[in-house]
Every structure is written in C-alpha cells, then in structure tokens.
C-alpha cells in the first residue's frame, strides 16, 4: 500500500513540474503573436445571470412527427397487448361511501325506470283490455236490444192480428193436430 502512495505522489509532483515549462512556452508564442496589430480589445460586459433575458429560457422548438418526415413504421399494436401505464392491476375495490353511493344511485335509477315502464305497460294493456271489454259489452247490449226489438215487433204483429186471428189460429192448430201422422199400436 505505502509504496504505491509514494509513487503516486511522486508522479503528481513530476507532472506539475513538467507543465510549467509548457505554459511558459505558450506565453512565448503569445508574445510573438502580439506583434501583429490588432484592434484594442473591447470590454464585453457579461450580463448578470439574474438579468431578465437570461432568466427567461429560450424554448427549444419542438418538431411534430409530420415535420420530421420520418419513415413510417408499422405502428399497429394488437388490442390485448397494450395496457395503460400507471393503472392498477386487477380488481378495483369499492369501499368508500361515495363510490358505493354512485353505483347504488345508478342501479336505483335503472330499476326505477324499469318498474315505471313495466307499470306504464301494464296500465296501457289494462286500458286496452277495458276498452275492449266495454266495446264487447256495448255490442252485446246492442245485440240484445235488437233481439228485443225483433221480439217486440213479432209480439206487436201478433197483437195486431191477435184479436181476430187468435181464434182461427187456435182453431188452425186444433185442426192441424189431427193431420199429424200418428203411430198407434192396435
């Protein structure tokens, strides 16, 4: 361990000594360049970091894919393969009151609608049935009245003829009776 440390130190010291002459050399070259006439250096004031211009970062232009003219890849991904990132795996449990309430409200509204529609349907059917029943009754009554009218008319006819024809009618029936064929045992 110790010797390596020592060697490292030595190397570093050696390096430092070798760099000095190099730097002096560069100075020499600079001095030679100084002979060329140049305009005096202007003082360029660096603007402070807190300056407004420096503070506002320049936005880099963001290229859209269409602008880049990239060759298109086969971007079709099967439906089952891609899964949304950051989403919980498996079941999502409902344990909070609000979640349960929303589900319940949805279910309740649905059921309410169903029952309402069922009742409406039943009522409509009932109305139709009632109407049909009434119609049937009306028809029956009409038939009955017709029958009654017919009966009455027959009765009236009979009554009209009745006074003078009642006797002949009875006579006729009496006369017709003997005409009937009869079988008798001797």
């Amino acid at each position: 361990m110790a010797p390596t440390k020592g060697s490292a130190k030595g190397a570093s010291s050696g390096g430092g000594s070798s760099s000095k002459p190099l730097s002096s050399g560069s100075r020499v070259s600079k001095s030679s360049k100084n002979n060329v006439k140049r305009p005096p250096p202007k003082e360029v004031k660096n603007k402070a970091r807190t300056e407004r211009e420096n503070l506002s970062k320049k936005k880099k232009r963001v290229y859209s894919e269409a602008e880049l003219n990239l060759p298109e890849l086969n971007t079709i991904t099967p439906v089952g393969v891609v899964k949304p990132k950051g989403k919980k795996k498996g079941k999502t449990f409902v344990d909070d009151k609000e979640g349960m309430m929303t589900i319940l409200a949805m279910v309740n509204a649905e059921k309410e609608g169903q029952i309402e529609s069922k009742m409406m349907k039943a009522r409509q059917l009932e109305e139709i049935r009632e109407a049909r029943k009434k119609e049937m009754e009306a028809r029956q009554a009409e038939k009955k009245s017709k029958l009654e009218a017919a009966k009455d008319s027959i009765r009236n006819k009979k009554k009209g003829k009745g006074v003078d024809k009642s006797e002949p009618a009875t006579n006729g029936s009496a006369k017709s009776k003997p005409k009937r064929k009869s079988v008798a045992f001797a």
């Binding site: 999502t92 409902v94 349960m100 309430m101 589900i103 279910v107 069922k118 039943a122 009932e126």
Partner: protein
C-alpha cells in the same frame, strides 16, 4: 376477506334493488335516530359469500385467519362461479326494512310457504297495489312478521282475475330455510 369490486357491487345492488326502494342508500349511510350519521357499514366478500357488517367489526375480524372465519355481520348472499348473485334468507332482515312491494299471507297460507311452496292467490290476505309482474316482493304474515321473499308472476290487477289456485308469487327464500338449509347456509 376483501371489499367488493365495482362489478360485484353492481350485481349485488341490482339484486337488492329488486326488492327494495330508494331507501336502500340507508344501508350504506345509515342515520341514527337523532339524525346524526350512524356507524359506517360495509360489504365484505369472504369466499363466495357477501357479508354486511359495521366497519369496526370488520376491522376486528382481521385478526382471525381467513379459513377460520365462518361468518361476520349479516350474510347477504353468495356469488356463483359465473358471477351471478343470489340473495340468501339471511338477508331478509336487511331487505324487509326497505321493501318496496309487500304481500301479506293469510294464516292458512303461512305453513305451505314456510315449507318451500309458492304462494297461491287464495293465500294472499292483501298486497301492495300497483305491483307489476316479475317483480321482487317481500312476504309477511298478517302480524307483519317477515317470512321470506319471492317474485310476482302477475301484476296485481291481473292476479285479481285469476282463479284461487293460481300461483301468484314464486318463492325465492323463506324462513324455513334456516332449518332446511342448516348445513349449507354458511358454507363457502
């Protein structure tokens, strides 16, 4: 034991809403008699069975191993393997408080019903007006004791015209199940 997922919750509520009215939200957010918010009640799934219990009790139950936990709170019903939900007779106490349609049985109809029979028209003492056909209905005896629940086969108006022996309510669950199904009532 775990909370119900969204779909499970929906299927369960759909079943419950067959029998109950809008007051069903009292199940989730019960209010005590003085109007303040009551104890928080939750649904939990243990095996295939759904239980309805106060949250505090559920929290206590976490100390019991899952396979040794037989029942907690009130059992509402069970999920079949295909994902359908069946209400159990144990849920009667929950349903009957919020029942939408009710039917009251005459004393001579109580026994046939408790032995698992359906309800015939002659056995009905009275029932809610305007009840449509194939609608969940809670069945009581004439002293307002809940006996079970079923599904109407005809609407009230139609049922009036039926002959006395015609079936008007198909039985879904009755209190006789406490004895008849004793062995399987709580098995998962």
């Amino acid at each position: 034991m775990r909370p119900l997922s969204e779909t499970e919750m929906k299927t369960m509520f759909e079943k419950l809403a067959n029998y109950t009215g809008a007051s069903l939200n009292q199940l989730i957010a019960p209010t005590s008699e003085d109007g303040t918010e009551g104890e928080r009640m939750v649904f939990r799934l243990q095996g295939s069975r759904v239980y309805y219990a106060p949250l505090a009790l559920v929290n206590y139950a976490t100390s019991i191993p899952r396979d040794q936990l037989l029942c907690i709170g009130t059992q509402i019903g069970k999920f079949s393997k295909t994902g359908r939900f069946f209400l159990n007779i144990t849920s009667l106490s929950v349903i009957e408080k919020h029942a939408r349609f009710k039917a009251w049985l005459k004393p001579n109809g109580v026994q046939p019903f408790l032995y698992g029979g359906s309800v015939v028209r002659a056995h009905i003492g009275r029932w809610s007006e305007d009840c449509p056909g194939s609608q969940g209905i809670v069945i009581y005896d004439m002293n307002d004791t809940p006996l079970g629940f079923g599904v109407t086969t005809r609407s009230t108006a139609e049922a009036r015209k039926l002959e006395p022996t015609a079936m008007v309510i198909a039985r879904q669950a009755d209190c006789g199940e406490w004895l008849r199904e004793e062995d399987t009532l709580f098995t998962t």
